[in-house]
Symmetry: C2
Subunit: 375 residues, 2 copies
């Protein structure tokens, strides 16, 4: 068995109302200056929590989509002036990724542009707590943070163990208000984390356990949560599935789905979950010959008898949750394919993980299947 | 799904030779004064590692069996004088448990006698790194440390998230020299952690994943490692199984096997793993009616068709690894049973976890089956 290094928050609190423990935990940790970055729909929750803090608290409303380098720099200025000893992020993946980078850089001489890539971040002195309110990113347990560099239209990742939060609170109560569309897109993102880790060229039995657990939870619960957002058991299951997906990211990470989706996010501003959701089945078909046994296991989790049928079940689940099945349905056309393939080929750090080599021609083939009307 | 709080070391390094990363990691963490507590057979390894430290280092040879309160106090005096900023334990469960308590108390006003029980420890300032050299205790990832209080002949536990190491290195290379008998006893201990968590009254799906993974690894690899200690794959599998068992301890913990074994350790000085190994099948038979589905899953992991057959397979595995099947084979007789049952009934914190209530009469029945010659 190959070696592996597992990083995760020293404390993961999971369950309804666990977020109520936050003020006590902050008191016990002795934090004096807390910067709370909150997604707009979570502002009330953030204010209620902050009212119980024994610390000087500044709340920043996160009013943006997926974060850009420029937007991040603006927030970093605010954080630098406030000098927090703890940054708390409460929101979806964009908010959490931003909070993680703020905690790492608010008292650092390093600039975010210097730390793109793996292990360039030199440390983190500030406390870091993440509270996810979507079930997709897994950012609350992962060493990853992604920004969009608008100058090159590239999504760029910062990967460092210092970006793993100290504590995270995964509270399904915070997710019941999530719109059905975002529930579906983010869950498909989590599913793609699990599937891309499980079928990864560098997969590992320890991470396979997480990945399969995540796949099963999402397979069994996404449609329920999509149709009934108030179903707390389904919300909890998706939250856990997403956490498992996040635990896959550090040691194994994703592969071609994510590589191919980067251009869709970077240049065409398609949401990360949606881009992955559309790409996932087509990339799975491409990868199947390289990892048939694992694809059969995935199929079993979806109640399918064969690997191919498993992929069809995933497509059907995605369609049942209102996700478009073609990129052409969301404004991408044949004329974009060359650019998308070029952007994908730049994401070598993920492409090397793919169980089957992806050439530019392969990328073009996959994109073409998603922009023309054959199925 | 019920809520749960997961604690674990922020970094778990698993694999052959991962221990070689220790000096670099200590340098990066900036430790200046390292206290290294090493089991006697690991002294050479400890010395080699210490030679690469950029820190003042004191090595203490751990020359004792399972630690007593008095022995611990002696070590604490040494630690208090040295004033380490990091304690490293390298050895089996006794060494790691001791190292964990040294790190927590070396600069504390609390006394070890004040912190027996759950969550009485107020904090830990000193770094803590654990390097297991047996595959049984799971102490390297757990919040538990056990001492023998000789005044009352009771084994007493300190349970606190502050006892979870910051980092652990699980390196199967360090385990190849472990004698076959200790390999078997410690692995049966790890197996009992997994089984007692999986069938626990307070079991949880997240921990069930760890427990089943551990059960499968131990089922498939113990006999191989017992007969061929050099088999690094089997050693790695057992090390991982033991880690999974340790991850079960914080959130769910053990039950009647461990409660009944405490008197065997405390009063009769029978090693922890051996006591658990002998008790496990008999307690499983007692518990089976309370958790038939989970016992069937365990049986499947051992290639058995029914829950009852699964228990027989575990007995057979234990016997094949040279473990006595009766307490009478290791000097316990009918006249000890009353005392053992009394001591067991004191361990209420574990008995409450058992899937089936254990009365004193039940405990006597179980012990009696293990001291007379019916099988």
């Amino acid at each position: 068995m190959n070696g592996i290094i597992l990083y995760q928050p020293q404390k993961i609190a999971f369950g309804t109302q666990v977020v109520l423990q936050l003020p006590d935990d902050c008191r016990q940790a002795g934090y004096r200056r807390i910067l709370l970055l909150a997604a707009l729909p979570l502002l009330d929750t953030a204010n209620r929590l902050a009212a119980s803090f024994d610390a000087e608290t500044q709340i920043i409303e996160y009013r943006f989509g997926e974060p850009t380098v420029d937007y991040f720099d603006g927030l970093l200025n605010i954080a630098g002036e406030f000098q927090p000893d703890c940054v708390i992020g409460i929101g979806g993946g964009s908010v959490l990724d931003t909070a993680k980078l703020l905690a790492a850089l608010c008292d650092s001489r390093q600039n975010v542009r210097e730390i793109f890539g793996k292990n360039f971040l030199k440390g983190r002195n500030c406390g870091l707590i993440c509270i996810p309110t979507t079930s997709g990113t897994g950012s609350e347990v992962s060493p990853n943070a992604i920004l969009l560099d608008e100058s090159s239209m590239e999504k760029k990742g910062v990967i460092s163990p210092y970006l793993i939060p100290d504590v995270c609170y995964i509270d399904p109560d915070l997710m019941v208000g999530l719109p059905a569309r975002i529930t579906a897109e983010t869950a498909m993102d989590a599913l793609s984390h699990c599937i891309e880790a499980y079928t990864n060229k560098y997969s590992h039995p320890v991470i396979d356990n997480y990945a399969l657990a995540g796949i099963r939870l999402i397979a069994d619960n996404l449609e329920i949560a999509y149709h009934d957002g108030q179903n707390i058991d389904a919300r909890a299951a998706l939250a856990l599935g997403s956490m498992y997906g996040g635990l896959c990211l550090g040691p194994v990470n994703t592969a071609a789905v994510h590589a191919l989706s980067y251009g869709l996010g970077g240049k065409y501003h398609i949401s990360h979950g949606l881009a992955n959701a559309i790409l996932l089945p087509e990339v799975m078909k491409f990868n199947l010959p390289a990892s048939p046994d694992k694809y059969r296991e995935i199929a079993l989790a979806f109640g399918a008898a064969s690997a191919g049928e498993g992929i069809e079940k995933i497509k059907a689940l995605s369609a049942a949750c209102g996700i478009p099945q073609k990129l052409s349905e969301i404004g991408i056309s044949r004329s974009d394919v060359e650019t998308l393939a070029d952007l994908a080929m730049k994401v070598t750090r993920l492409l090397v993980n793919n169980p089957r080599e992806v050439t530019k021609e392969d990328a073009i083939d996959i994109f073409m299947k998603l922009v023309v009307n054959n199925s």
